[in-house]
Each structure stands twice: as structure tokens, then as C-alpha cells.
């Protein structure tokens, strides 16, 4: 068993209104940052997983997303795997 870090990005589908993104963009505009053309806000999850292989880790992460971490009705996700590396504080 090896430890992997799964970096998971969960975003609202492009067709779903993201009021948070709109609000962030508006405040940036009032702060004078006109160079910011659009903002979308989603979630970023970092998991430490045990798996036999990188592929196994990927499949596990995918399963977790499908089951719990993302809501397929409105969200889409993207998984990246990284070596476990330095432990960054426990949960």
C-alpha cells in the first residue's frame, strides 16, 4: 500500500449560475480591478489515500467523487494525483 494525495476540484457546471463568482467579480470591479473578466468559485479538496497503484488511487478518488464529494446534478469534478509527500497537518 502506498499513500497518494488526491487533489480534487469541484466546480458548478458552466450552465449553472454561480452567484458567488458574480459577487466576487463585482467586488473586484468596485475595488478597481477591471482586468478581471470573470470569476467562478468552487471547491478544492485534498485527500490522502492508500492504494496499490496510482491507477487504484485514481479510481478510488473517482468513486468518492461520484458517491459523495460532488453532486452530478450540478457539479463537475477533476482529479489530480500527487505523491503523498510531506504530511500537511492532520485532520
Amino acid at each position: 500500500m502506498v499513500e497518494y494525495r488526491a487533489l480534487i476540484k469541484v466546480m458548478l457546471k458552466p450552465t449553472v449560475l454561480d452567484p458567488q463568482g458574480v459577487a466576487v467579480r463585482n467586488s473586484l470591479l468596485t475595488m478597481g480591478y477591471e482586468a478581471v473578466k470573470s470569476v467562478r468559485v468552487g471547491k478544492h479538496l485534498e485527500l490522502t489515500l492508500e492504494a496499490n497503484s496510482e491507477n487504484g488511487a485514481y479510481c478510488l478518488a473517482q468513486e468518492l467523487c461520484d458517491e459523495l464529494l460532488a453532486n452530478p446534478v450540478v457539479e463537475e469534478y477533476h482529479i489530480e494525483l500527487a505523491p503523498a509527500g510531506e504530511e500537511k497537518g492532520g485532520t
Binding site: 458548478l12 449553472v16 449560475l17 452567484p19 458567488q20 459577487a23 459523495l68 464529494l69 453532486n71 446534478v73 450540478v74
Partner: protein, 233 residues
Amino acid sequence: MKCAVVVFPGSNCDADVYHALTDDLGVDAHYVWHRESDITGYDVVVLPGGFSYGDYLRAGAIARFSPVMVSVQRFAQRGGLVLGICNGFQILVEAGLLPGALLKNDNLQFRCEWTTLRVDNHCTPFTSRCRKGQVLSLPIAHGEGRYHVDSDTLKEWNDAGRIVFRYATAEGDACREANPNGSLHNIAGIVNREGNVLGMMPHPERATNSLVGGEDGRWVLGSLVDYVERGCV
């Protein structure tokens, strides 16, 4: 009528539902802990409001994996009546018992206020006491109540009258101004295909006594009592 009020860790309207049912409507209600798997013998199961599991990740996302939800699924499949209020609605949607999703309010704030709702389908076990188009005054209290669903389902649900409540003005106009959270088509409550599972964001249990602001919640909870007694709408 015997009613189960499911208690998830973080539920906080469980006692309110229990109190409204027993003290104001004279219903025989019981708490059911989320780890229990037996819900036989009940006529109605209520999933109450609150913040199950803190509403962390997404409202209702974690609660749907509570052991009791397997039984609730089965109960619903057999035609049992299930009412999800607020967080309960969010759990039903996450569990796939109702279509769509409940997203952050478009104003990005938690909103607690009285709203007015139009009854668009009075032929459900949850609205049998109502008239079509009747306007009910019920409170909302949520941060994630913006109903969203894909356009095909929306059309199907619309056409089949499964959208039961819409936010509307006191005159019954479901306009933008009456919408407190940006919900698609002002949707406040929907029912499943079979008509036995209803989810709604507003809180009928907060409006069963004029002392705390109104009694319109009895139109919903009382409809259930009638239905169970009569066995039909």
C-alpha cells in the same frame, strides 16, 4: 396517524416538528434516531430541518448515507408518505428521491423570513386540504434553497403538476420579487412521480399556532392527517 420524525446528528427542527404534530395537531409522533433501520408501522416519515452533519460539503450530502435512509427509500418505494422540510428536502434531493439540487441562495445569505406560497397542486396527500391557487404564509430559514434542475425534468415536472408550491405574492403572482432565494421558476416544493414524497423549503411546523405568527402550516400537516385517515386524496 403515526408519524416518524427522523433525527440526524445536527437536525434542529426535529423537536419543532414533533411539537407541532403532537401538541397542535394531535398526531402520534415519535423520534427515530438516524442509526435505526426499522421504520415499519409508521404512516408518515418526516425528515426535519436543521444542519445535518453541519451541512458541511453540501447540505444533505452526508446525511443521505445515514443507515435510516435505506429504510426511508424502501418505505417510499412501498408508497409510504415522506415529507422533507428544508434540510429534509435537501437530503431527499441528495438521496435521489426527488430530482434536482438545492444551491446557495442567489443573495449568498441565510434568509429567515415569512414568505407567501402558491399551492399549484392541491391533489397531493400533502395539500388535500388546500384549494388550487391558495396562498399560504409560511416561514423560510435557509442558506441553500435555490432549487435547480435540468430543463427536461423541469418540463416534465411542470407538465405533470409535480411542482406543488411556488413562492408568490399575497395575490398569488409567482414573480421575481416574491422569490427569496433565486429558485428556478420560484419553486418552493415538489413531489415525486408517485406523489408520495414531498420536499419543501418553507417550514409548515413553524406555523401551526397563532402565538408564533400563523397557522397556515396546518394546511400542509393537516392534509397529511386527512389523507392517512381517509386513505385517499
